[in-house]
Amino acid sequence: MTPKIKTIRWHIPLLLLPAVIIYSAIMIFPLLATLNLSFFNVEEGKQVFVGIANYIVLFGNEIYSEKFWNALGNNAYFFMIHMLVQNPLGIILAAMLSSKKLRFTAFYRTAIFIPAILSFVIVGFVWKLILSPLWGIAPDLLDMIGLKSLFLPWLGKEAYALTTISLISVWQYIGIPMMLIYAALLSIPEEVVEAAECDGITGSSLFWKIKLPLILPSIGIISILTFVGNFNAFDLIYATQGALGGPGFTTDILGTLLYRTFFGFQLQLGDLYAGSTLATVMFFIILAGVCGYLFGVQNRLRRYQF
């Protein structure tokens, strides 16, 4: 109760002010405004409150809902490929890199991480050229191992385009799970590993029974990062397949659909209100994923941490 406590410490708000103002004005306010805008529409040139009418159109109108469910399904598939290919491979690479007395680890780490620093635009075009039947790099390479007959213009085939795009994205981002898991493996205390070895647990069972449970929190973080990244992806598809998510909308995901809906593309006019509605739906999809992770997965994994 000394008078010192009662004086206002002006430096605290002053230090916080610039960050809070910019963050609130450019991020929080627009997010809330977008959620709000999804309940409005234009009638006779004026903005009027329409309740959930936009959502009824998005989910009920055949033209809109078909596009939406298609994009959501493609997005889920895109995410699934990342979870099944990128993250397990990242863990395997990290486990190999962290094996004792391995040489050149710094070189391998640095090289495998390089694609992750490049932009989607570059990566998209590079793979588009390599997979192009015009140039013939991919068929030539397949020919070397006698599999030339397997070549198809994968990015242009409806049946394979989405898988191909997903694998390109996996190729680009494999370095991130690798690094995070590698860091987690390095942070396992030596005593734990030695104690296990004293009990006769070695080799692969050492990994499965001792190390894997200890790195589960990192696997959880990677999964949620992948989820958030995948459900607002846009650039790679836009660069390789165009805003329409071709061929035949088979690579259309929520990001490209949002771009076309609110910004317009070719003959389709941009619609701020439909765009806001879709952005709101995406917001709740991502929020649900993040909350599910924070309350479900992370709490349960906590007890493994040191």
Binding site: L16, A19, I26, I224
Partner: protein, 281 residues
């Protein structure tokens, strides 16, 4: 028995190296192919795409087209301005806010921390509709300022989150010594604390820089005018236009890859140490 074990150890080591080398090749070959072919004639590109340029196939025609066809110098300058100004303010405002959060106990400290951390997980892209409206209303559309503001807002949450953790490790004795010497709280932050957490600041800088430099979404929507194009958008438009001119496309891609890779090789130790020290947990 002992020999057996040794052999299996060598075998395992060979297996691991083979696997990692294969992966390294897979990671690097697309870029290498593009770069070596950018120095070839059109014939060379199509006849022997996998070989290095020879005296016969060497050509820099693609680079000439890029230099005359697109204003890459301007795009590069724009990207450089946007990235460096955004980074400066992310670090400055981020460090100030982190210091307030880590140093003082005040009402609403926890709430403020959570409020600022919200943006780590929720992508700023979802607010694009209202951001565009805001920028139109304030007349900032098609200016670099619009991009800079968006990227500062995008970068602050992670920056504050990481720096707060690091600032907690700075010793109290040092700061109190400064206070006894009569330094103001701002002086303590800028002359005592920030120099001590410089490695963390560098890590944050690298993490924030990559998504800003590579972003396509906001330049496409907020600043697509010729004068304010960033390199990512410029490359995208240029390649779209010259799609059948393979020399030009390969040269443009190489020019986009090289500076980033060189920068990465310079800072890779910092970046990797940042990740492995658990900065992004």
């Amino acid at each position: 028995m002992h020999l057996d074990k040794k052999f299996s150890h060598i075998g395992r080591s060979i297996f691991i190296h083979t696997f990692l080398i294969c992966f390294t090749i897979l990671a690097l070959f697309p870029m290498v192919i593009v770069i070596i072919n950018s120095f070839k004639t059109r014939k060379g590109i199509f006849r022997e795409p996998l070989s290095f340029p020879t005296a016969e196939t060497f050509s820099i025609k693609g680079y000439e087209t890029v230099i005359t066809g697109g204003d890459f110098q301007l795009y590069f300058t724009n990207s450089f301005i946007v990235t460096s100004v955004s980074l400066f303010f992310i670090l400055l405002f981020g460090a100030m806010a982190s210091y307030a959060l880590s140093e003082y106990r005040f009402k609403g400290n926890l709430f403020m921390g959570l409020f600022l951390a919200f943006g780590i997980m929720i992508p700023i892209r979802l607010g694009t509709v209202a951001i565009l409206k805001l920028m139109v209303a304030t007349g900032l559309v098609n200016t670099l300022t619009a991009l800079i503001l968006v990227y500062i807002a995008q970068g602050l949450p992670l920056c504050i989150f990481i720096l707060t953790e690091f600032m907690k490790t700075v010793s109290d004795d040092l700061k109190n010594a400064g206070r006894i010497d009569g330094l103001s709280e701002y002086r303590i932050l800028f002359t005592l604390v920030i120099p001590l957490i410089r490695p963390a600041m560098a890590t944050v800088a690298v993490f924030s820089m990559i998504p800003i430099w590579n972003d396509l979404w906001f330049p496409l929507i907020l600043a697509s005018g010729e004068e304010v194009k960033t390199i990512t958008l410029g490359a995208q438009n240029f390649i779209g236009q010259y799609l059948t001119n393979w020399n030009a496309v390969l040269a443009a891609l190489s020019l986009a890859i090289l500076p980033v890779v060189i920068l990465y090789l310079i800072f890779s130790r910092q970046l990797i140490r940042g990740i492995t020290s658990g900065a992004v947990k």
